[in-house]
């Protein structure tokens, strides 16, 4: 079956190939000359926008992409300038970043850690991106943040709500503008107490993965501190589309509040099931039954339609706010795309401006300079009120909104009403809080 005719010629050939193969690794020891990864040397600088364009969060991702494109326009001095006019830091001139024209490349995270890392890697290795922005899931955010740390570029997280992103998985090169599960709990609890009283029995349905657990943990802790009792916490598989079998036991459990730690399609389905079972019309323990959805988004509210009326939740930002930054952003977003932006879009827009501003103030694209400029940076005028980028864990601290599904929406975008703007001081926590402890930022990495 085999043929062994060894000739001199063949031996030489084989030897040459094998030799070349063996010699290859020695060329890798040479290092490139630039001071840090992807140092922009030409007249432009490239930012990488890594958002889910397919999969369950595709809608959020596309909204983020629109906002990022708008931010690039504003940085390059096109359009009406948006929040550049209201931002308290005046380093940005509308002439790009450090005089270099801003260009961008896009990638599809598919809401999968692997795919997100692949597309981020291709943006870093192939297109030479100096910063990666966006994303709509905590798993993806943590994965991409780790990659950016190793590769030596800055990561400006998009929508990520789990405590871990700036908790045990925090990294020196990564920054989160969005709020987190702990803040949701801290902001919601007083409103819940005011609306529902201090003697409630809560039943949790929780999406069975990392974000769900941290949110459940946060909400349980802050409601129990009020005097509420937690009857039961049930994990639901992420892939479920029908939650009837999880809702039915709620009725007989003696609970009078249902907390849905679900997001996206999961939340739309579980809320719809709960409404179909008539939970909101029930009276338990002599009190009206209530439903709480700790993390809201405009797109989920639109998906749940009628069912969301009167249901409480929390948000990072809402287009109906009346401060100057919000007005400027909503105006230029609305004029360009003919709809109001979602809160994930606002986060991505703000993150791009914050990165550009930090580079401008640091005077360099070097990630270590940017980290230094962003740490403990205080600013205002991007729509969230006075905001602080804490240096200890790279988490933004700002007001958190408590919202309620609008009873009488006047148009398609008016699905949520703002109940309360929880002041920043109330949602702050120690960086070594048990829900966040265990990680360390490490050193900033400028790459090669």
């Amino acid at each position: 079956m085999s043929k062994n005719d060894v000739t001199r010629r063949r031996v030489l050939k084989t030897g040459a190939v094998a030799g070349a193969g063996l010699a290859m690794p020695t060329v890798f020891t040479a290092q490139s000359a630039s001071a840090f990864t992807n140092e922009p040397t030409g007249s432009n600088v490239i930012l990488g926008f890594n958002v889910p364009q397919t999969g369950p969060y595709a809608e959020e991702g596309n909204d983020e992409l629109l906002a990022q494109q708008l931010a690039v326009e504003h940085l390059n001095g096109e359009g009406d300038g948006g929040c550049l006019n209201t931002f308290t830091s005046k380093a940005l001139k509308g002439n790009g970043i450090l005089g270099k024209k801003v260009e961008f490349v896009t990638g599809d995270t598919q809401t999968k850690s692997d795919a997100a890392r692949a597309s981020a890697k291709s943006m870093i290795e192939k297109d030479g991106a100096v910063m990666i922005n966006g994303g709509s899931s905590s798993g993806v955010a943590v994965a991409v943040q780790g990659l950016c740390q190793e590769a030596g570029v800055i990561f400006m997280a998009g929508l990520t709500h789990a405590n871990d992103t700036t908790g045990k998985d925090k990294k020196a090169n990564g920054f989160r503008h969005f709020f987190n599960a702990y803040m949701s709990g801290a902001a919601l609890a007083p409103v819940l107490a005011a609306e529902m009283g201090k003697e409630r029995r809560a039943y949790h349905l929780t999406a069975d993965y990392n974000w769900g657990w941290t949110q459940e943990e946060s909400i349980v802790a802050s409601t129990e501190a009020l005097g509420w009792e937690t009857v039961n916490t049930v994990k639901t598989p992420l892939a479920s589309t029908d939650f009837s079998s999880y809702i039915a036991p709620v009725l007989n459990s003696g609970a009078d509040v249902l907390v849905l730690n679900h997001y996206g399609g999961n939340m739309v389905n579980s809320l719809t099931n709960a409404i179909q079972f008539g939970l909101l019309d029930k009276v338990a323990n002599g009190k009206d039954f209530k439903i709480v959805v700790p993390l809201y988004s405009e797109l989920m509210a639109a998906g749940a339609g009628e069912n969301i009326k009167g249901v409480l939740g929390s948000m990072n930002w809402n287009w109906q706010l009346q401060d100057e930054g919000t007005k400027a952003f909503v105006k230029s977003f609305g004029e360009k795309y003919e709809k109001p932006p979602s809160n994930s879009a606002q986060t991505c827009y703000a993150q791009v401006l914050l990165y550009a501003d930090a580079v401008e103030r640091a005077g360099t694209f070097n990630p270590c300079g940017v980290v230094e400029a962003l740490e403990d940076f205080e600013f205002d005028g991007l729509g969230n009120g006075p905001t602080w980028y804490r240096g200890a864990d790279h988490q933004c601290f700002k007001d958190v909104l408590v919202v309620r599904g609008n009873e009488n929406p006047t148009n398609a975008y008016d699905t949520l009403e703002i109940v309360e703007i929880t002041p920043r001081a109330q949602v702050e926590y120690d960086p070594e809080h048990p829900m966040f402890a265990g990680g360390s930022l490490g050193e900033c990495n400028p790459g090669s």
Binding site: M1, S2, K3, N4, V6, T14, V17, A20, G21, M24, P25, V27, F28, T29, A30, Q31, S32, Q53, T54, A58, F104, V105, T106, G107, D108, K112, S113, D114, A115, R117, A118, S119, K121, S122, M123, E125, K126, S137, S138, G139, V142, A143, G146, L147, E150, A151, D164, K168, D169, D208, Y209, N210, W211, W213, K235, P237, L238, G439, S440, G442
Partner: protein
């Protein structure tokens, strides 16, 4: 050479040359030109080409030879990745123990699943493997990642933290996966004129491993064992009636292909030290089936081509956005430009699945033998033109 006949030797040499020169071949367009968008010669994608090539070669040993269609091969890939990352966490960032353990663990896991699944054949076998893979996915995604017993770190993916033990980690070794000190990320960039070629250490490690396993696959295809597997595919019932127990053969093929998948998973983790649960999802299992069919089932080089094809689309086409399109058609008058962008828009960016789907349909309808058959047809056509002589043409199909 190496116990291969002339044709197989030349095939192996072609594969060797292609993989070793990939940084040149995949970067045909000068940097900064409009066509640079289509360059694929950056480290991450090149690594993916060969890693998924290994995965598909292994899958083909099972599917191409025995005809058993496993819909759960991604489970072995995922198990391999987790094993490798655990080695990074516990031992050190050296890739050798990680890759070895990933192959061993995937082998054991496939022995278990194969032993149960191979009691049935045909569609029942596919469903069983699919069920096992989805079970593994669910385990990795939530069950095995609870705070009390965290083996997989769930949705976030298993990664290496600064406070992990890493018992054999030396201070002067890089803080990234490395092969005796050569970091898998280290890249030597060669600038020639307008071109820039990346030579990445990790890629060459994967490439050398792929050549070795490709050689192994050739030997398996040409061995009496391979012949036995082909007999299973042609008519297993008749084999059983002759009194021959085919189970050990199919189980061996299943375990071998599981180990290939584990190797691919281990290499993935070695290139990028993170293991996510999505690696085990049924879509990932489906992908390797597509790769094999697209390239040519039962052929030696087909799966590698299919893997390259799919990964190219996933990574290159998904990154073309409307801005890029506008810059391509900028020479047209405004109305025409917008029209062209409108026409092409659904097929690029997030629409890459659509393009891939259409191409897959075309291949399956017109080239049932996959890309390999296309290549042979092309070759015959060219030969026929040159010396109008009827050639025997087709190389023997594997079945």
């Amino acid at each position: 050479m190496l116990g291969l006949n002339k044709k197989d030797t030349s095939l192996l040499l072609i594969v060797a040359v292609l993989t070793l020169l990939a940084p040149f071949i995949l970067n045909p367009f000068p940097e900064g030109s409009a066509m640079a968008q289509f360059n694929a010669g950056y480290p991450d994608l090149m690594q993916r080409f060969v890693i998924f090539g290994i995965f598909a070669i292994g899958f083909n040993i099972l599917f191409g030879l025995t005809g058993y269609l496993s819909f759960g091969h991604a489970a072995f890939l995922g198990v391999g990745s987790y094993a490798a990352v655990w080695m990074f966490k516990l031992i050190s960032y050296n890739v050798i123990p990680a890759i070895l353990l990933s192959v061993v663990v995937a082998g054991l896991f496939s022995l278990l699943i194969g032993f149960i699944s191979l009691r049935r054949s045909g569609i029942y076998f596919s469903i069983l493997t699919l069920a096992f893979a989805q079970m593994s996915f669910a385990l990795a995604y939530s069950v095995l990642s609870n705070p009390k017993f965290n083996l997989t770190n769930g949705e976030t993916g298993l990664q290496v933290y600064a406070d992990d033990p890493q018992w054999f980690h030396r201070a002067n070794a890089p803080d990234l996966p490395h092969l005796f000190g050569v970091s898998m990320r280290s890249t030597y960039t060669m600038d020639v004129g307008g071109w820039s070629f990346d030579f990445n250490a990790g890629y060459y490690l994967c490439a050398v491993i792929m050549m070795v396993v490709f050689y192994l696959a050739i030997r398996i295809f040409r061995s009496p064992f391979g012949m036995m597997l082909r007999a299973v595919k042609s008519n297993q019932q008749r084999m059983n009636y002759t009194g021959l127990n085919s189970r050990p053969y199919t189980l061996a093929a299943f375990v071998i292909s599981g180990m290939y998948a584990g190797l691919a998973g281990g290499l993935m983790a070695a290139m990028d030290p993170l293991a996510g649960a999505e690696r085990m999802q049924w879509t990932a299992s489906g992908e390797v089936v597509l790769m094999t069919i697209l390239g040519g089932t039962g052929t030696l080089i087909g799966p590698v081509l299919g893997a390259g094809f799919i990964k190219y689309f996933e990574n290159i086409f998904s990154k073309i956005n409307d801005n890029v399109l506008h810059s391509w058609f900028a020479f047209l008058p405004d109305g025409m430009e917008d029209f062209m962008v409108f026409i092409i828009h659904p097929f690029i960016g997030k629409g890459w699945h659509l393009t891939l789907g259409l191409l897959f349909m075309l291949v399956v309808i017109f080239l049932p033998g996959g890309l390999v058959e296309g290549g042979q047809k092309l070759l015959n056509w060219v030969r026929g033109k040159r010396k109008d002589k009827k050639t025997s043409g087709k190389t023997e199909p594997a079945e």
